[in-house]
Amino acid sequence: DVKVTQSSRYLVKRTGEKVFLECVQDMDHENMFWYRQDPGLGLRLIYFSYDVKMKEKGDIPEGYSVSREKKERFSLILESASTNQTSMYLCASTLQGQPQHFGDGTRLSIL
Protein backbone atom coordinates (compact mmCIF):
# COMPACT_ATOMS: atom_id res chain seq x y z
CA ASP A 1 0.00 0.00 0.00
CA VAL A 2 1.27 3.45 -0.89
CA LYS A 3 2.50 5.49 2.03
CA VAL A 4 2.81 9.28 1.81
CA THR A 5 4.35 10.71 4.95
CA GLN A 6 4.33 14.36 5.90
CA SER A 7 6.86 15.34 8.51
CA SER A 8 4.50 17.18 10.89
CA ARG A 9 0.77 17.02 11.64
CA TYR A 10 0.77 20.40 13.39
CA LEU A 11 3.21 23.27 13.10
CA VAL A 12 3.22 26.76 14.59
CA LYS A 13 5.57 29.39 13.20
CA ARG A 14 6.02 33.13 13.38
CA THR A 15 5.55 35.73 10.67
CA GLY A 16 8.71 36.15 8.61
CA GLU A 17 10.15 32.74 9.41
CA LYS A 18 11.31 30.38 6.70
CA VAL A 19 9.23 27.22 6.94
CA PHE A 20 9.96 23.80 5.49
CA LEU A 21 7.28 21.14 5.00
CA GLU A 22 8.58 17.72 4.04
CA CYS A 23 6.85 14.91 2.19
CA VAL A 24 8.13 11.41 1.46
CA GLN A 25 6.49 8.67 -0.61
CA ASP A 26 7.55 5.06 -0.80
CA MET A 27 6.12 3.88 -4.13
CA ASP A 28 8.56 5.31 -6.66
CA HIS A 29 5.90 7.68 -8.05
CA GLU A 30 7.21 10.19 -10.51
CA ASN A 31 4.60 12.86 -9.78
CA MET A 32 4.27 14.69 -6.50
CA PHE A 33 2.03 17.61 -5.52
CA TRP A 34 1.56 20.20 -2.80
CA TYR A 35 -1.93 21.56 -2.12
CA ARG A 36 -3.42 23.81 0.45
CA GLN A 37 -6.89 23.08 1.72
CA ASP A 38 -9.09 25.90 3.00
CA PRO A 39 -12.78 25.70 3.95
CA GLY A 40 -15.03 26.40 0.99
CA LEU A 41 -12.14 26.52 -1.46
CA GLY A 42 -11.33 22.84 -1.79
CA LEU A 43 -7.80 21.85 -2.67
CA ARG A 44 -5.69 24.38 -4.52
CA LEU A 45 -2.49 23.30 -6.21
CA ILE A 46 0.63 25.17 -5.12
CA TYR A 47 3.36 23.32 -7.04
CA PHE A 48 3.87 19.93 -8.59
CA SER A 49 6.87 17.95 -9.75
CA TYR A 50 6.98 15.30 -12.46
CA ASP A 51 10.59 14.21 -11.96
CA VAL A 52 13.63 14.83 -9.82
CA LYS A 53 14.68 18.50 -9.94
CA MET A 54 11.66 19.29 -12.15
CA LYS A 55 8.90 21.54 -10.84
CA GLU A 56 5.91 23.37 -12.19
CA LYS A 57 3.84 26.16 -10.68
CA GLY A 58 0.30 25.36 -9.79
CA ASP A 59 -2.54 27.78 -9.32
CA ILE A 60 -1.26 29.62 -6.22
CA PRO A 61 2.55 29.49 -6.15
CA GLU A 62 3.16 32.99 -4.79
CA GLY A 63 5.08 32.98 -1.52
CA TYR A 64 6.10 29.35 -1.91
CA SER A 65 8.93 27.39 -3.45
CA VAL A 66 9.67 23.67 -3.71
CA SER A 67 12.58 21.31 -3.87
CA ARG A 68 12.82 17.80 -5.28
CA GLU A 69 16.36 16.52 -4.97
CA LYS A 70 15.35 12.87 -4.66
CA LYS A 71 12.43 11.05 -6.29
CA GLU A 72 10.82 10.10 -3.00
CA ARG A 73 10.99 13.53 -1.33
CA PHE A 74 9.17 16.75 -2.19
CA SER A 75 9.64 19.76 0.06
CA LEU A 76 7.48 22.86 0.26
CA ILE A 77 9.18 26.05 1.45
CA LEU A 78 7.51 29.19 2.72
CA GLU A 79 10.23 31.77 2.10
CA SER A 80 8.89 34.32 4.59
CA ALA A 81 5.78 33.06 6.33
CA SER A 82 2.75 35.31 6.52
CA THR A 83 -0.52 34.95 8.41
CA ASN A 84 -2.48 34.33 5.20
CA GLN A 85 -0.47 31.14 4.75
CA THR A 86 -2.15 29.60 7.79
CA SER A 87 -3.79 26.54 6.29
CA MET A 88 -3.85 22.77 5.94
CA TYR A 89 -1.14 21.60 3.55
CA LEU A 90 -1.52 18.30 1.73
CA CYS A 91 1.10 16.36 -0.16
CA ALA A 92 0.16 13.76 -2.76
CA SER A 93 1.93 11.42 -5.14
CA THR A 94 0.84 9.44 -8.17
CA LEU A 95 1.72 7.73 -11.37
CA GLN A 96 0.64 9.76 -14.37
CA GLY A 97 -3.14 9.87 -14.81
CA GLN A 98 -3.77 7.63 -11.82
CA PRO A 99 -5.54 8.53 -8.57
CA GLN A 100 -3.50 10.51 -6.12
CA HIS A 101 -2.36 9.18 -2.76
CA PHE A 102 -2.45 11.77 0.01
CA GLY A 103 -0.53 12.27 3.21
CA ASP A 104 -2.27 13.07 6.50
CA GLY A 105 -1.69 16.80 6.05
CA THR A 106 0.15 19.45 8.02
CA ARG A 107 -1.94 22.04 9.82
CA LEU A 108 0.26 25.13 9.77
CA SER A 109 -0.44 28.19 11.88
CA ILE A 110 1.46 31.40 11.31
CA LEU A 111 1.31 33.80 14.25
Partner: protein, 114 residues
Protein backbone atom coordinates in the same frame (compact mmCIF):
# COMPACT_ATOMS: atom_id res chain seq x y z
CA UNK B 1 -9.25 27.08 -17.63
CA UNK B 2 -10.67 23.89 -16.26
CA UNK B 3 -12.96 24.09 -13.29
CA UNK B 4 -14.95 21.70 -11.16
CA UNK B 5 -18.19 22.77 -9.57
CA UNK B 6 -19.83 20.96 -6.69
CA UNK B 7 -23.41 21.95 -6.21
CA UNK B 8 -23.71 21.83 -2.43
CA UNK B 9 -21.25 22.91 0.21
CA UNK B 10 -23.14 21.35 3.10
CA UNK B 11 -25.62 18.47 3.13
CA UNK B 12 -27.43 17.12 6.19
CA UNK B 13 -29.24 13.80 5.94
CA UNK B 14 -30.78 11.29 8.29
CA UNK B 15 -29.54 7.71 8.30
CA UNK B 16 -31.06 5.57 5.53
CA UNK B 17 -31.75 8.59 3.35
CA UNK B 18 -30.54 8.53 -0.23
CA UNK B 19 -27.62 10.71 -1.25
CA UNK B 20 -26.76 12.45 -4.48
CA UNK B 21 -23.90 14.94 -4.70
CA UNK B 22 -23.60 16.91 -7.90
CA UNK B 23 -20.38 17.57 -9.78
CA UNK B 24 -19.88 19.37 -13.08
CA UNK B 25 -16.63 20.09 -14.85
CA UNK B 26 -15.62 22.38 -17.67
CA UNK B 27 -13.19 20.54 -19.92
CA UNK B 28 -14.09 19.47 -23.43
CA UNK B 29 -11.53 16.75 -23.98
CA UNK B 30 -11.00 13.31 -22.55
CA UNK B 31 -11.02 13.33 -18.77
CA UNK B 32 -10.36 11.05 -15.85
CA UNK B 33 -12.86 11.62 -13.06
CA UNK B 34 -12.54 10.94 -9.35
CA UNK B 35 -14.41 11.21 -6.10
CA UNK B 36 -12.31 11.45 -2.95
CA UNK B 37 -13.52 11.33 0.63
CA UNK B 38 -11.99 12.80 3.75
CA UNK B 39 -13.33 11.42 7.04
CA UNK B 40 -12.85 13.60 10.12
CA UNK B 41 -9.21 13.62 11.15
CA UNK B 42 -8.14 11.37 8.29
CA UNK B 43 -6.37 11.88 5.01
CA UNK B 44 -8.07 12.12 1.65
CA UNK B 45 -8.73 8.75 0.07
CA UNK B 46 -10.09 7.60 -3.24
CA UNK B 47 -13.77 6.66 -3.27
CA UNK B 48 -14.08 5.78 -6.96
CA UNK B 49 -12.74 6.66 -10.38
CA UNK B 50 -13.80 6.74 -14.00
CA UNK B 51 -11.34 6.39 -16.87
CA UNK B 52 -13.40 4.87 -19.69
CA UNK B 53 -16.01 2.22 -20.42
CA UNK B 54 -19.19 1.78 -18.42
CA UNK B 55 -20.26 5.27 -17.30
CA UNK B 56 -21.71 3.88 -14.09
CA UNK B 57 -18.85 3.17 -11.72
CA UNK B 58 -19.00 1.55 -8.34
CA UNK B 59 -16.69 2.45 -5.50
CA UNK B 60 -16.10 1.48 -1.94
CA UNK B 61 -18.73 1.45 0.82
CA UNK B 62 -21.70 1.26 -1.54
CA UNK B 63 -21.02 4.49 -3.41
CA UNK B 64 -21.47 4.82 -7.15
CA UNK B 65 -21.14 7.61 -9.68
CA UNK B 66 -22.48 8.17 -13.15
CA UNK B 67 -20.54 9.92 -15.89
CA UNK B 68 -22.83 11.79 -18.27
CA UNK B 69 -20.60 13.17 -21.00
CA UNK B 70 -23.26 15.37 -22.58
CA UNK B 71 -23.85 17.12 -19.27
CA UNK B 72 -20.19 17.23 -18.18
CA UNK B 73 -21.35 15.68 -14.94
CA UNK B 74 -20.12 13.01 -12.56
CA UNK B 75 -22.63 12.79 -9.72
CA UNK B 76 -22.04 10.67 -6.66
CA UNK B 77 -24.84 8.53 -5.23
CA UNK B 78 -25.56 6.20 -2.38
CA UNK B 79 -28.99 4.63 -1.86
CA UNK B 80 -28.88 4.61 1.95
CA UNK B 81 -26.38 6.62 3.97
CA UNK B 82 -24.98 5.67 7.35
CA UNK B 83 -23.73 7.82 10.20
CA UNK B 84 -20.20 6.71 9.29
CA UNK B 85 -20.54 8.42 5.90
CA UNK B 86 -20.18 11.79 7.64
CA UNK B 87 -17.22 13.27 5.78
CA UNK B 88 -16.17 15.79 3.19
CA UNK B 89 -16.43 14.68 -0.42
CA UNK B 90 -14.36 16.08 -3.28
CA UNK B 91 -14.94 15.69 -6.98
CA UNK B 92 -11.79 15.90 -9.13
CA UNK B 93 -10.89 15.93 -12.81
CA UNK B 94 -7.63 15.18 -14.60
CA UNK B 95 -7.26 16.17 -18.21
CA UNK B 96 -7.00 12.82 -19.94
CA UNK B 97 -4.97 9.66 -19.37
CA UNK B 98 -1.66 11.52 -19.51
CA UNK B 99 -2.76 14.51 -17.49
CA UNK B 100 -0.61 15.90 -14.72
CA UNK B 101 -2.90 18.36 -13.08
CA UNK B 102 -5.95 17.36 -11.12
CA UNK B 103 -8.53 20.03 -10.47
CA UNK B 104 -10.57 19.62 -7.30
CA UNK B 105 -14.00 20.94 -6.51
CA UNK B 106 -14.60 22.99 -3.37
CA UNK B 107 -15.90 19.97 -1.51
CA UNK B 108 -19.25 18.99 0.01
CA UNK B 109 -19.52 18.43 3.73
CA UNK B 110 -21.99 15.66 4.50
CA UNK B 111 -23.40 15.26 7.97
CA UNK B 112 -25.49 12.18 8.65
CA UNK B 113 -27.73 12.29 11.68
CA UNK B 114 -27.93 9.04 13.64
Amino acid sequence: AQSVSQHNHHVILSEAASLELGCNYSYGGTVNLFWYVQYPGQHLQLLLKYFSGDPLVKGIKGFEAEFIKSKFSFNLRKPSVQWSDTAEYFCAVTDGPGGFKTIFGAGTRLFVKA
